[in-house]
Each structure stands twice: as structure tokens, then as C-alpha cells.
Symmetry: C2
Subunit: 138 residues, 2 copies
């Protein structure tokens, strides 16, 4: 469960963007302190951000340091939404709970890559679950 109460104008905008945005930027940090922002596909279940990842640097970074940040595209300098969060490597059970919504959300995207949900899940084999811990923006 998220500690954040999504109240006020910023909270409402954050909820809307967590529901509506196709892409978020997920930043993890290497053990040597280098930040690594990457665009991700994700699903917001109302309290956590769930995503699938190839077994790559992002996963290794999270194993070593669970502190991550999520942000969305700015809109000419406005609509800034940044979430701080704690990430963990999840299980297929974590993903199963949102699988239908996730593959509905990215049906066109997966088709556009010439892939299928099954092949996508096999290639993006690691489930990541992020609990937001702080919201900021303007």
C-alpha cells in the first residue's frame, strides 16, 4: 500500500497520469551512484506501479538499492509529477493480479512491436513492483 494520500490538485493530477500515461520514466541508481532513467510501460493498480523488465541493469540496480523515482513527461514546463518510491523484484503472482489490465493497456503497443503478450512476458521476464513513498510536483 502506498503511504501517499493523493489529495489536492497535485494528487489528482498524479492519479490521473498514473492511470492514463502510456510511458513513465523510471530512474534507478547504480551502486557507483550513476542515475539511470529509462522509459517504461507500467500499470497502476491504485496503490502500486507494476511493470515487467528484461533481466538487465535496472533489475540489478533495484536489487542493490530499492530507491527509485518515477516521472512523467512535462508539458512545456508545467504538469510536473515526480514520485519517489521503493521498488522490489516481484513474482508472477504480483503480475497476475494486473495482467489483464496491463495487456489491455498495451495491446496496440505489443502489436506494434510485432509481438504477443506471451512472447513479451517471456522476454520481459522480471516483475517489478514499486510502492510510491512521496509525491512532488507543480
Amino acid at each position: 500500500m502506498s503511504d501517499i494520500e493523493f489529495t489536492g490538485d497535485l494528487g489528482r493530477r498524479a492519479q490521473e497520469r498514473l492511470k492514463a500515461e502510456q510511458i513513465a520514466w523510471l530512474t534507478t541508481v547504480r551502486p557507483n551512484g550513476i542515475p539511470e532513467p529509462n522509459p517504461i510501460w507500467f500499470l497502476w493498480d491504485g496503490s502500486s506501479v507494476i511493470l515487467r523488465s528484461q533481466d538487465n541493469l535496472k533489475v540489478r540496480n533495484i536489487r542493490a538499492n530499492p530507491h527509485v523515482a518515477l516521472n512523467f513527461n512535462s508539458d512545456g514546463g508545467g504538469d510536473i509529477v515526480v514520485l519517489r518510491g521503493l521498488a522490489r523484484i516481484g513474482t508472477e503472482a504480483d503480475f497476475d493480479a494486473v495482467s489483464e489490465d496491463y495487456f489491455h493497456k498495451y495491446a496496440e503497443g505489443i502489436k506494434g512491436l510485432g509481438s504477443t503478450p506471451e512472447r513479451m512476458a517471456a522476454s520481459y521476464s522480471v516483475v517489478i513492483v514499486i510502492e510510491p513513498t512521496k509525491l512532488r510536483g507543480f
Copy 2:
């Protein structure tokens, strides 16, 4: 001077966006490993990213850890440009070299905030210089 050679399609796109974008996301990292993405105004002089900042967390983070990342808004999942860089706290002399171009670039933005270049420079009192060290994207 930047170590990056901006060649190929990605290099050209990176140069274009460094020149044209009004907003970039600058991620610094706290000593405790928490990444902090923030939207910035900046000027690209052809080899470095120069910006002004209030004397805030971003500046403290850079003093403790010069590793930063810059990224631009994605475009529906495409046009991903991420730069890794080394940041340092600069001097007014660093800024003077780009001052005219910077205030020309943000003339409308500064007016929109009801400010002036002089007041903006006084409030955003710290000069930051970022040398890109790696380019990635797709």
C-alpha cells in the same frame, strides 16, 4: 569538452534536442541513494549543458556526487534520448559565456513568471556545468 561524438541518427537527434528543447530532466542522486529528477531550463553550448539553480538539494547532491543524467520527454515511447554526465558547480564566468543565448532562449518564460533576467539570475544563484559522457537512446 564532451567525450561524445554526436554521430549517427541518435547523435543527430540528441544534438537537435539539446539545441531546441525548452525543458530537460536532470537527475541527481542523494548521498543515501535516492534519485531526484527535476525539470530544468538549460543552454547547450555545443559541448556542455549550462544551467542556473537555486541553492537547493540539486546543488548539494552534485557537490557530493557529480554523476547525473539528462533526459528529454519521450514521444509516445519513441525519440528516447538519455545523456549521462559529470556535473560541477560553475562560476559566473561559465555562465557569462552563454548568458546572452540563455536569456534569449528563456525571454518568454522569464516574462511569463513575472521576472527579469537580473532577478532570475539573483534567485537562481548557482551555476551548474554538465559535461555529457555517454549517450543512449532509441
